[in-house]
Every structure is written in structure tokens, then in C-alpha cells.
């Protein structure tokens, strides 16, 4: 069993024993199972999945860090929301807005990066929310 903790500045989102964990790291997706070696990575905006007793939970997360030591997984991210907490309408609106802004402002504008991140977050949220069922 893995001892998983997902912590944001707002609250501890998950504190649980899980069988397996998958997340999006800086260099692509990775999976963690019990007995994994000590591992440290930055997390991109994306989805964190963990499996417990055959049931998979999806969580939309923003950028942060993940650490694996002795089957203890600590994930520190800015935000993390599980599927049931996501307002899909709002995420869709955020996505549309971000897309529109990205089209209208030049590539080297300082706000370009900001909207790009907003778009990624919205996509991650929608992805997670659509797996609610």
C-alpha cells in the first residue's frame, strides 16, 4: 500500500492508503506502485489518478511537486480538485475565455503564458469532470 497525501495551501485534499498512483510529471506521465524507489519530480498541470481497492479516483491538479520516499507519496500542489468538486460549466467557460484571449493577444505578450496556463487548467478540469461517472 502507498501512503498518499495530496496537500494544497487550502487544505489536505487526500490522505489515504492507495494501491497505485499515476500523475503527470515534468517529463511525462509516471506511475507509482508500492516499493518504488525514492523519487522526486515537478508536476505539471494535469490529472492525478489513484486506485484503491479497484476504484479509481481522478483529481485535477495544477503545478507542484511530488516526492516518493519509502512508500510515502507527498504531493504539494497549488490546487487540487476531485471530480465531484468541479463545476464543469465554469471550467468550460474558462476554457472558451482562455482560447479567445490566446487568439487575440500576440504570442510574446506577458499575459500569453498566463492564459495558456489557464487553458491547461480548464482542460484538466474538464477531463477529470467528464470521468465522474
Amino acid at each position: 500500500m502507498l501512503n498518499l497525501e495530496i496537500i494544497t495551501p487550502e487544505k489536505t485534499v487526500v490522505k489515504d492508503e492507495v494501491d497505485m498512483l499515476e500523475a503527470t510529471g515534468a517529463e511525462g506521465e509516471f506511475g507509482i506502485m508500492p516499493g518504488h524507489t525514492q523519487f522526486l519530480t515537478t508536476l505539471g498541470i494535469g490529472e492525478i489518478r489513484y486506485t484503491k481497492n479497484g476504484a479509481t479516483t481522478h483529481i485535477a491538479s495544477s503545478a507542484g511537486l511530488a516526492e516518493v520516499v519509502d512508500d510515502k507519496v507527498t504531493i504539494l500542489v497549488d490546487t487540487a480538485e476531485s471530480a465531484k468538486d468541479i463545476d464543469i460549466e465554469r471550467a468550460k467557460k474558462a476554457m472558451e475565455r482562455a482560447e479567445a484571449m490566446l487568439k487575440s493577444i500576440p504570442f510574446d505578450h506577458t499575459e500569453y503564458r498566463m492564459y495558456e496556463l489557464a487553458l491547461l487548467r480548464a482542460i484538466a478540469r474538464i477531463g477529470v469532470a467528464s470521468k465522474k461517472l
Binding site: 497525501e5 496537500i7 494544497t8 495551501p9 487550502e10 487544505k11 489536505t12 510529471g25 515534468a26 517529463e27 509516471f30 524507489t37 525514492q38 523519487f39 522526486l40 519530480t41 515537478t42 507542484g64 511537486l65 516526492e67 520516499v69 507527498t74 504539494l76 497549488d78
Partner: protein, 286 residues
Amino acid sequence: MATLRDIKRKIGSINSTQTITRTMKMVSASKLRRAQSELEKIKDYALKMEELTGRVIKNMPEDAHPLLAAREEVKKVLIVSVGSDRGLCGGFNTNVALNAENFAKQNRDNYERVGVYLFGRKIRDYLTRRKADIVKDWVDIKKVDQELVDAVAEELIGLYLSGEFDKIYLSYTYFASPVKQEVVFDEFIPIKTPGDVEYIDYICEPERTKIVESLIPRYISTKIYYSLIESQTSEHAARMSAMENATSNCGEMVRYLTLVYNKRRQEGITNEMMDIVGGAEALRGT
């Protein structure tokens, strides 16, 4: 000498003061509860972040990141002092301000410059009166949020990297319990590697230096966020106990004055009786 009516007026005014302090205490108590729950939320994150940072930067060469390397010559020091805008909270602000002032005084000969980067009107007023070198003051902060913290973190990192300051200290009030708050005075930047952490040979993705690069700004803003919230919680707790003291002092004062008032009143009655008796005696004599 105070007349009966003067004493009565005084009792009335103390009573209304007591009503105010009692209300302020209750307001602070409810604010404290809210602040405490906010503190709980961020505390986990801040502690984990601190632990993780300690483990990650352990055994890192000092030149891995400019915010890790201690400068050989420390000439200019900056103190980040966190206080509040409002008073009536006992020694809360004075303690933090005194800490900064004493540090500046003690090290006047060691350093070329000791600057203060402060939060809170009360601390600003105190240090301005004492002619401290104030680099920046943040007053009227409505709400501590990520935006504010990021701005502060960016500015502090800038002040350090540009060579404006060689070392930054962080001073705030730590909330130990509702009745106990302590002023913390710690080295902040450059980040020191804690001694009692074991080195872990991680597999890193991307390489360790890259991770450190993204971790350190995050660590700094988390630490600032955390200290602001700690300070806020402590402020409410300090105000609550200050107001509680004030309320009980008012009660004591009223009790004492009531005693004086009654004594004085009795004295008056006795005097009047003596007058009457004396008069009657005098009449009977004729």
C-alpha cells in the same frame, strides 16, 4: 476632592468602557476562530514544504542556486517584520518592532545597513518614530492572498539578488496557543540547510538543480504566506487576551469606586445626622 456626583460619573464611564472592551473581546474571539481554521489549512502545506525543501536542498552544492549560497561578506541586512494595522492588542506589535529595533541597535557596528521590510501600520509608526531604515511598508492589507504573497516574494528575491541586501531575516509572531504567542526571528534568505535532515538519493525528474529552481520561489512564498497567517491569528489572540484583561480591570475599578462611593455617601449621611442631632441638642439647651 471628588464629590459624590464625580465618582458616580466615573463609574458610569468605566462601565461603558467595559462594555466596549467586552464586545471587542468577543469580536476577537470569533475572528480568532476563523483565523485559526485558516491557519490549520495552510499549516500542513507549509510544514510539508519546509520538510521537503530541507530534504531536497540537503547536500546541494551552494552554487546550485543563488538563493542557497551564503555571501562571504554580509554588510547589508534586511529584516522582514510582520505586525498589524490596528492596536489594542497588548504587546503584539511592540514585541515584533522591538525585536527589529534591538537587532538593528546591537548590530549597528557589524553591518553597513540594517533595513526593515514591514507589514502593519503600527510597526511602521513605531519604527518611523525611532528613525529606522524602512525599505518598504505594507499597510491596509485587506486580505492575505496568493497575489500579495507572490508580489512580496518577488520583491524580496529581487532585493537579495540585486545585492541590495546580503541577508534577510524573517520576524513574525508564532501562534503557539490562544494564550501564548511568541515572536520568531529567523534567518530567511539565503536558505539554510537544516542540519538534522538525512540525505536522500532521489531519482529526479528533471535533474535536481531544475527542481530546486522551481521549488525555491515556491518555498519562499509559502513561508511568507504562512508567517502572515500566523501573525494574523496571533493578533486576534493577543487582542482577545488584552481585551479580557481590560474588561476585568474595569470590573475591579468599578468595584473599588463603588466602595469609595458608598463610604462617601455614608459619611455624608453621618455628617448630616450629626448636624441634626447637634442642632437638636443646641435647641434643647435653651
